[in-house]
Amino acid sequence: MKSIDVFGYSFNAIKLRKLRSALTTLGVIVGIAAIVALLSITQGLQTTITSELNQGLSANTLIVRPSSGNDIGGGFGQGISGTGFSLYSNYTTEINSLSPDIESSVAVMSRSGYIQTENLKQSATIYGIDFNQYAQVYPTFKAETGYIPTDPLENQAVVGTRINQPGQNGTIFFDAGNIINIAWVNATVLPPVDESYTAVVAGVLEKVGGFGSNGPSDTGVYIPIETAQSFFGTDQCDMIIVTLKDSDNATVTSVSKAITDHFSNQVSVTSPTAMIDMLSSVFDTLQLFLVGIAAISLLVAGIGIMNIMFVSLIERTREIGILKSLGMKSRSVLSIFLAESAIIGLIGAVAGIGLGYGLAAIVAQVISSGVFGGGGGALAITPLLTPTVIAGALAFGIGISVIFALYPAWRASKLKPVDALRYE
């Protein structure tokens, strides 16, 4: 019997048992949908996070912090490690001389604080930086409105887009050119005192996204480092960002070592590449785990298919007898049964991929709309449906269906025509 006729015959048999076939297919649909949804969500998330990290942390940068072995700084680091070691802003000169592979370095101070205007009080992270150097390291340090002063006055500031538009819903509380109060709670004295000064907003940054953890942030307020030093009353900085001339692994490793050695292991040096690598491997494991769980539902679907095939075998014993009496070979009978489950698997997989992607899109929408982002737009995920996932889902859906149909199909093919014809 020709394959096309085998499929035609099988398809006809499926059509006749619409409801039952639909229910069997539903099992496959659910299993495949679960797998596809999980995969496209996690892959989309991974891509979003990695790309935002890549943006926020150029691959050729190193972050130098006081060794965090037993940090007593608490909260947002005070730049003092357990060993009493502190980083100072002027260490950048020392660091620059450590290796010819170093392009430049920039010190960053940061404190939790808030800004205040007539009708807005908004918590923020206040960064003290050298605007020029910082912009060189991070291309995302770019003004959407206003500008980033190259030679800032001491009362000029640049703010992230969620500082002047906390809701990200079009309501702008202030803009470039306006005046705001920058404040922090100084807890280095007792009792803690609120300290503040008046600054002019020179520019508002372009939207960065949720993961520029060490780079520019939408919730950051950027002030000149000199202003920060006097405002926070210290020359200590929280980290020094080192830009390398290239992002080779060898360069990253050797410069990292040179810096840690120079500071007698009292600093920790992290490279974003390593961080992204680690994150990727965490994601891979997570994905494997989730897909493993989803695969169990497919297994259940497979057992459902096997059950249906047995019912079908019993119901169609006489039909099989007729087919064999007309000269159909055992292997064609086997093919007919396998083709039936393959068709169910194919339909289930295609529908499952569609449904799974749809689910992923809904979940992504929910996440992006801020249920988990804490106020909107922090994490824009686009579910990612790769050709590999599509091919895998198809293969898996059809494969499971066919594998579980093998035994019933084999039993059907082994029926003797006389016995099958006598069956009532």
């Binding site: 006809n12 000269g327 159909m328 055992s330």
Partner: protein, 231 residues
């Protein structure tokens, strides 16, 4: 013209024993029997005498327990599963209860035996139409078995049996489930096939009158042939 003496079926001491649990049931107790090309044989006998068993063996649906059965010159006892399937395609079998596939139309039922024999779509569609026309069912090609009368179903079964140009046609009680008018129509059809197309016919029946219409009548009793006469 094919010689009268070419055997299409030759049974030599054929026995068939069924096992009912542990009890052996001897359905055929040593049958010797020969059908030549162009013969029209009717097999007559009481219920349980082994007629259907005999027909099933000739139709290559089963193998003898012992003895030798040549179908179209080959000993079916020596054939494997695949070879038996190939042989069945060259035999037209019309079952007592028609055995049409309920979900397929008359035309698709006839086409099915040709698609099993690897015939292409357009060719078999054309041939199915011709065959249904031959058996007088041109108007019913798109009806499913449940939408046809017993006699019409019978004729679809005959059209299906003829689809692959069989050497011989086996009919199990072809008129057992139809009225006498339909029965004589079916008989006329069979006789025509035998006379005009030289198709050998083996027909099982209960009906003495019908049996006498054949060229030869074989009487069975209790698993044996006890008479074989030319009418």
């Amino acid at each position: 013209m094919i010689s009268k003496n070419v055997a299409v079926v030759e049974a030599l001491n054929v026995k068939k024993t069924y096992m009912l649990g542990k009890v052996p049931v001897e359905a055929l107790r040593g049958v010797n029997f020969r059908v030549n090309q162009g013969d029209f044989v009717s097999i007559l006998g009481p219920s349980g005498s082994g007629k259907s068993t005999m027909l099933n063996l000739i139709g290559a649906l089963d193998k003898p327990t012992s003895g030798t059965l040549f179908i179209d010159g080959v000993d079916i006892g020596r054939l494997n599963d695949n070879q038996l399937s190939d042989l069945r395609r060259r035999i037209g079998f019309v079952f007592q209860f028609f055995n049409l596939i309920p979900r397929l139309t008359a035309r698709d039922n006839v086409e099915l035996s040709m698609s099993i024999a690897d015939m292409g779509k357009s060719e078999r569609r054309k041939r199915a139409l011709e065959l249904l026309e031959t058996v007088g069912l041109k108007e019913r090609i798109n009806h499913k078995p449940a939408e046809l009368s017993g006699g019409q179903q019978q004729r679809v079964a005959i059209a299906r049996a003829l689809a692959n140009n069989p050497k011989f046609l086996l009919l199990d009680e072809p008129t057992g489930n139809v009225d006498s008018k339909t029965a004589s129509e079916v008989l006329a059809l069979i006789q025509n096939l035998n006379k005009e197309h030289n198709v050998s016919i083996i027909m099982v029946t209960h009906d003495e009158k019908l049996a006498r219409q054949a060229k030869r009548t074989v009487k069975m009793f209790d698993g044996e042939i006890n008479s074989d006469v030319v009418n």
